[in-house]
Symmetry: C2
Subunit: 196 residues, 2 copies
């Protein structure tokens, strides 16, 4: 058996996925070639296939890893006893922090999922639809309980999630504003807009 670890990063496959995420984010999935990726990893293109099965497997790993983290978080929060506005704030903060800490992965899951092959594509979209529905239900419940102002839940969910996705633009920028200020201001904006 040869070494399983490379650098301090984990398995070589993890290094490849990580590097792929960087490139997919910079150039897009389609515009990134396996030779680009190989060069960045420091290896010949054919050698990548000792660790992965295909280019699209890389995209799958990235998209579903992110999706699973969001779903797991939602499940944890749903089963808590906090007021609904508090729950929503926790969810929003989780999304923002994911966008801050796992920028490349989340970006790809947000913008490059289109290039997933079937049946992964349908699978991914179903998970996403279900996730958004569950968020919508939280808001609906908040309205029914008088904790949240009257608003179309679908639109609220769309607005919240899209706004947070936009943090990718902050990531690419010269960052005149700190991550903390960004988080606090965005949370305030999005939560205050829901209050009665």
């Amino acid at each position: 058996m040869a070494k399983i670890k490379s650098k301090r990063n984990g398995t070589k496959k993890e290094v490849i996925v990580e590097t792929a995420a960087q490139l997919f984010r910079e150039k897009g999935f389609s515009a990134t070639s396996m030779r680009d990726l190989a060069e960045q990893v420091g290896v010949e293109a054919a050698s990548l296939y000792n660790h992965i099965q295909s280019k699209s497997e890389l995209l799958q790993e990235i998209c579903f890893k992110v999706a699973n983290e969001f779903i797991a978080n939602l499940e944890a929060i749903e089963s808590s006893q906090d007021p609904l506005l508090k729950k929503l704030e926790q969810i929003i903060r989780f999304h923002i922090r994911m966008m801050l800490d796992q920028y490349e992965f989340v970006y790809i899951s947000d913008y490059e999922w289109r290039h997933l092959p079937e049946p992964y594509l349908s699978n991914f979209l179903n998970q996403r639809r279900s996730y958004r529905r569950r968020l919508g239900t939280l808001i609906e419940l908040g309205i029914a309980r008088g904790e949240i102002k009257h608003i179309e839940p679908y639109v609220a969910v769309l607005t919240i999630l899209s706004a947070i996705s936009g943090i990718e633009s902050w990531q690419r920028s010269r960052k005149t504003i700190s991550a903390e200020v960004l988080e606090e201001n965005m949370v305030t904006y999005l939560i205050d807009g829901l209050k009665k």
Copy 2:
């Protein structure tokens, strides 16, 4: 000279750009081939070059057409005498309607500009940065005048524009909600979140 008009759409070049916009939105710029585009237009790939200079010219036309429309609108609104919250609402509504009426074009300008070649890329990004700064200035002024609550202008602009970009997801969906409801609810959410 041969016919300049094709269908009722305008010049053949316009038909090509329009069709390119559809494909770029569906599959992304990189994943769309000139042969794909040619087939959709009903012509051989080489024939496209009687009307356009290159694939990237198509992207340029789309991105800058959209950018110019937004800039023109901003200029018109800036020079009005309305209260700042009213100005912002007008801008937000304009963005929403652009996303509703010119979905393919705006989508590409939002998400596919990365594939612009230099010097167009820098040019585009400069215009965008300047546009956002001007929006930020409006918010800053609104805060100074006590019309808008205290919030980091950069974050407010980012939140507003990103939220509106997310309408692309509504466009792809089964539309259980009408365009009017979408617009009204999103405006309410984004404007109320700015009120003191």
